[in-house]
Amino acid sequence: MPSSSIAADGSPLGDLLRQLRSWSLVALPILFFLIFFAGPLLYLFVVSLLEPSQTELYGTNVTLQNYAKVLGDEFYLRIIQRTLLVGALVTGIALLIAYPVAMAIARMTPRWRIIAMIALMFPLMLSNVVRAYGWIAVLGRQGVVNTVLTQAEIIDAPLALLYSIEAVVLGLMTILLPYMIISIANSLTGLDRSYAEAAQSLGAGPLRTFIHVTWPLSSPGVAAGMQLVFFLTLSAYVTIALLGGPRFSLLVSMVYRSAMAFQWTFSAALAFVLLGVALGVGALIMLVLRPGRVQGRG
């Protein structure tokens, strides 16, 4: 049997070499992530701090003017406001609808629960553009709603239901609803029933059991769902453009438009303001819900 020629046993060098060799397996994925994920993001951040240039991609001087433009101009501030409003509406309404649905799913037998989960995951695998088109088909001038209302002679002329903030909120909310439902349902099904039973044995009725036991224990799922839905709302350019129309702009629309106009430094700043909004709201959700106090599974 061949024996190794490396000298003393347990030598730190030998250990180090062995450690490095075992990391070689994951070197490629890590490298990939550094080059195509972390790297470009850092680069974009740096660019957001540079002055714009007409001839080059960006200038050489470090400046905060891009951020000043975003956060100082009333126009952009109103857009940020509107973005937050849409985000809050979508997330809030999704939560209100998703929680009862998740409770219904948690009550199902495992077999039906799996079917329900698949039915929820399926639309998530379709492209958002197809689902947005679905709402165009429903809310458009020749869409289902207008057709039904016209045929029932409730209205004379088709309603302009699209190209409104309501259409955007409705569309986004239904597109992202499965995420919220799945997240909360997972949390609820993971709950040990003995918690609720213990509460009831101590005198808590259904409502108080919910308030003091079920809701707090499901907060990790609620927080995760809310964060996910909010983040995805911020990014959903296509849905917003299709259902809100060309004159309905949210923060993400500004990012896209300025990038297409080659305003690199400005779009970079807009992008990081978007990120800031996302992280800020994410932190807010964590603060309000405090899911951390639920340690471990039920």
Partner: protein, 263 residues
Amino acid sequence: MIRLGHILQNTIAGIAFLLILGPTIVVVLVSFSSAETFTFPPPGLSLRWFVEFFQADNMTSAFLFSMRVGATSAVCATVLATLAARFVVRQRGVTSGLLQSLFTAPLVFPAIILGLALLLFYRTINFGGPGGLILAHVLIGMPYAFRLVLASLQSFNQTLEEAAQSLGAGPFRTFFLVTLPIIWPGVLSGGLFAFIVSFGELNVALFLTGPGYNTLPIEIFGYLQFPGRQLIIAAASTLQVAMIIVLALTIERLVGLARIGKS
């Protein structure tokens, strides 16, 4: 009282499912319409819009391009994901948590920012085209594949690898003769999931596609921005629905779709 609560929950659930699946069902129904313009309910059934779809050059080339990008990026994503998962499953504590966060980060990161960052990055180094999009989709699909392969490896009995080694199989042969044959459903599902994600991906593709190399969703988006002849989009949508159904059922048979439930 509790019964009332249950009835309420079920009703809301019904409404929710209707809202979620309804619009797509409408689209699928309308895609078989024989009418010239959008009418619901469709006056008659016909496959004309599917024919139109396959006759439209830009549509079919976008469809094929999406397939190409999806397949290539899925394969690469799965390979990377398997390497990463293989390593992570052996680690304990802090390292494992850190690496898992790294490899699933693209899931929660706003894709729009990623798209912009990559566009600028590619511009700077004069790279781009289909290759750029494929690499971006590898990044986006990898977390999904990673989670699935990792789950497979976590339920894999590691003493089997030790047994193989004790019989003389080196690391490579151990992986290909013992580990992979046992975890392949997880690996394949990871690949399929990465493909599905790539096919439907919009936000990054918005920045990284261009004339001559558009993915199907981007092509559809372009179409929808102008009124008129939209039923061809319905056909395209139904095709995607059919494809997703087939793939989703395959994944379900392989590893059980519901287990992937967590977002």
